[in-house]
Symmetry: C2
Subunit: 427 residues, 2 copies
Amino acid sequence: MKPYREMSREELLNLKAELEEKYQEAKAKNLHLDMSRGKPSAEQLDLSMGMMDVLNSTVDLKDSEGVDCRNYGVLDGVKEAKELLGQMSEVSPDKIIIYGNSSLNVMYDTVARAVTHGIMGHTPWGKLDKVKFLCPVPGYDRHFSITEYFGIEMINVPMTPQGPDMDLVEKLVSSDPAVKGIWCVPKYSNPQGITYSDETVRRFAALRPAAEDFRIFWDNAYCVHHLYEDQQDFLLEILDECEKAGNPDIVYKFCSTSKISFPGSGVACIATSPNNLKDIKKQLMIQTIGHDKVNQLRHVRFFKDIDGIHEHMRRHADIMRPKFEAVLDTLERELGGLGIGSWIRPRGGYFISFDAMEGCAKTIVAKCREAGVVMTAAGATYPYGRDPKDSNIRIAPSFPAKEELAAASDLFVLCVKLASVEKLLDK
Amino acid sequence: MKPYREMSREELLNLKAELEEKYQEAKAKNLHLDMSRGKPSAEQLDLSMGMMDVLNSTVDLKDSEGVDCRNYGVLDGVKEAKELLGQMSEVSPDKIIIYGNSSLNVMYDTVARAVTHGIMGHTPWGKLDKVKFLCPVPGYDRHFSITEYFGIEMINVPMTPQGPDMDLVEKLVSSDPAVKGIWCVPKYSNPQGITYSDETVRRFAALRPAAEDFRIFWDNAYCVHHLYEDQQDFLLEILDECEKAGNPDIVYKFCSTSKISFPGSGVACIATSPNNLKDIKKQLMIQTIGHDKVNQLRHVRFFKDIDGIHEHMRRHADIMRPKFEAVLDTLERELGGLGIGSWIRPRGGYFISFDAMEGCAKTIVAKCREAGVVMTAAGATYPYGRDPKDSNIRIAPSFPAKEELAAASDLFVLCVKLASVEKLLDK
C-alpha cells in the first residue's frame, strides 16, 4: 500500500470506509485489554516465587555481620544488600543506601528533601522563587508528576537516538541557576528504549551547572532489563565518570528490584557520592529507624549475586521478547511504508514508543479505548500531560498475554490508520 | 534507710564513700548492657517466626478481592490488611491507609506534606513565619526530632496521670493560630506508660483550635501492648469522639505492627477522616505506586484477625512482664522511701519513666555509661533534648535478658543513689 499522504481524496475516502467497517467489527469483539502500564505479567512474577521459600521459621535471620534483621536498626541497609544492589548499580557498596519497596518513593523523597532542606547546605528549593527541571521528552509520567507536585517548572528537552539533546542541556544548565535538576532514564529509556551514548554520559558528567545544587536524577530503572542476550546496550557508569570529571556530587542514581522480583515488594536504593550520602542520612535518620531488612535478606538469599540476577533476567527476557516482537511485527507489517507513524525497536526496558502523525495521538488512544483497549493516556509522556505535537503514544506490551497482545496490536494499528486518514481528509 | 534529705552531712559523706566503693566494684564487672531503646528481645521476635512460613511458593498471593499482591497497584493497602489494622486501630477499614514498614515514616511524611503542601487547602506550613507544636513531656524523642527537623517550635506541656495538662492544651490551641499540632502517645505513653483518661480524650475531641489546620498526631503505638491480662488500660477511640464533637478532621491516628511482629519489617497505617484521607491520597499517589502488599498479606495470614493479635500479644506480655517487674522491684526495694526518685508502674508499653532529683539525670546516665550500662540520653524525653529539671530518665527493659536486667537495674539504682548524695552534698 502506498503512503497515505500520496493518496487522492477519493482513495482516502474509500480507505476510510473500509477501515471504519473493520473498526466496527473490532468493537463488536468486546475486548478488555490493557497496554497502559509497565507491569510484569503473572508469568514473570511466577519466576520469583522461589523468593517466598528462602526464608522460613527454621532459617537464621541474621545478616553477614550478625545483625538480627528482624529487629530495629541499620539505617542504610544490611551489608549484603548493599553489595548486591551495588553490583546492580555498578558502584561500590559504600556508595549505596538501601531503601524500601519503591525507587519512585526514593526519588520523591529526594526532591522533597531538596525542597524543605536544600542540598548540602544550599537554600531549600521551597524558599526560592523559581526552580526548574529539565525533562527529556518523551519521558516517564511519574517523574513529571513529582516535579509538578512541588511546583517545579519543567522544560522539555528533546530526546535523540543518543539520549537528550546535550547541546540544549549544557546551555540551559550552565546559564540558568534556577535549573536544579534533570530527569533521566539512561538505559532502555521510558518510553523509547534508548540508551544514552558514552559521549552523552560524559557530557553529563562534565556539566558545569550555574547552580551548585544542580543534580542529575539518574533513574537506572532498566539497568539489567535486556530483551536479547546477544544484543545488549551498554551504559557508561556515571558516578565514575563524574568523579573523573571533578564533579563527584552531581548525580543521584536510583535503582530497584521492582521489575526483577515483585513490583511493590522489592528493594530500592540510591547510589551517590559520600558528600551526598552524608547529606541524605541527616534526613533519613529523622524519617525512619530503618527499612525492611528481612526483605533485603530475602532478596539477597534468593538472587545471591549479580550473576543470579542476570540469570533471572534472562528468564524475564524469554517471556518479554515474544511480546515485544508481536507488537513490533504488527507495527511493521501494518504500518511500514505508510508514513503515518514511526517507532523504535528497543533492546530492553518495558516500552515501545510510537509517534503518530501530528495531532493524532489523542484520537488514536480514544479510539482504542472505545474498542476496549486501554493505552497510556496520550500526552502522558510529556510534562503536564501536554505533548505539543499530540503525537507520542507509549505502548506497554508486558502485561497482556501474547494472544491478547496480537488482538490489541491489531486494534492499535487499525486506530492509527483510521485516525490518520481522518486527519488527512480534515486538512 | 531514711530519706536522703533528712541525713546529716556526715551521714551523707559516709554513705557516699560506701556507694563509691560499690560503684568501683560494679565497674570492675565490665558490663555491656543496653536499656536505651524500646527494642523487643530476640525471644519476642521468635514469637513471630511462623510469619516466615505462611507464604511460600505454593501459596496463592492474591488478596480476597483477587488482586495479585505481587504486582504494582493498590495505593492504600489490600482489603484484609485494612480490616486487620482497622480492628487494631478500632476504626472501620475505610478510614485506613496502609503504609510501609514504619509508622515513624508515616508521621514524618504527614508533617512533611503539611510543610510543603498544607493540610486540606490551607497554607503550607513552610510558607508561614512560625509554626508551633505542643509536646506533652516527657515524650518520645523521635517525635520531637521530626518537628525540630522542620523548624517547628516545640512547646512543652506537662503530663499528668490523666494525660497532658488539658487546661494548658486548650488555652494554647484555642488562642494561637501558629499552634498546628500536638504529639500524643495516648496509651501506655512513651515513656511514662500513662493512658489518657476518657475526659482527656473527650477534651481533645472537643478542642476549638485557632488554626483550622491544627491536627492531633495520635501515635497509638502501644494500642495492644498490655503487660497484664487482667489489668489493662482502656483508651477511648478518638476518631469516634471527634465525630461526635463535630470535629471529624482534627486527628491523625497512627498505628503499626512494629512491636507486634518484626520491628522494621511490619506494616504501618494511618486512620483518619474521609476528608483527611482524600487530602493524603493526593500526595500519596505522587509519592508511590503502593506499599509492600506481599508483606501486608503475610501479616494478615499469620495473625488472621484481632483475636490472633491479642493472643500473640499475650505471649509478648509473658516475656515482658517479668522484665518490667525486675526493674520495678529493684527500684522499689532500693529506692523506696529515700526521696531521691519517683516512677510509675505501667500496665503496658515499653518503658519505665524515672524522675530523679532535679539536676541529677545527666550525671546518673553518665555514671551508668561509665560502668557499661547504656541508658537513653538524659534529656531525650524533652524537645531539643533539654529537660529543664534534668530529672527524667527513660528505662527500656525489653531488650536485655532478665539476668542482665537485674545487673543493669542494680547498677542504675546505685548510680541514682550516688548522684543524689553528691547533689545533696554539693548544695
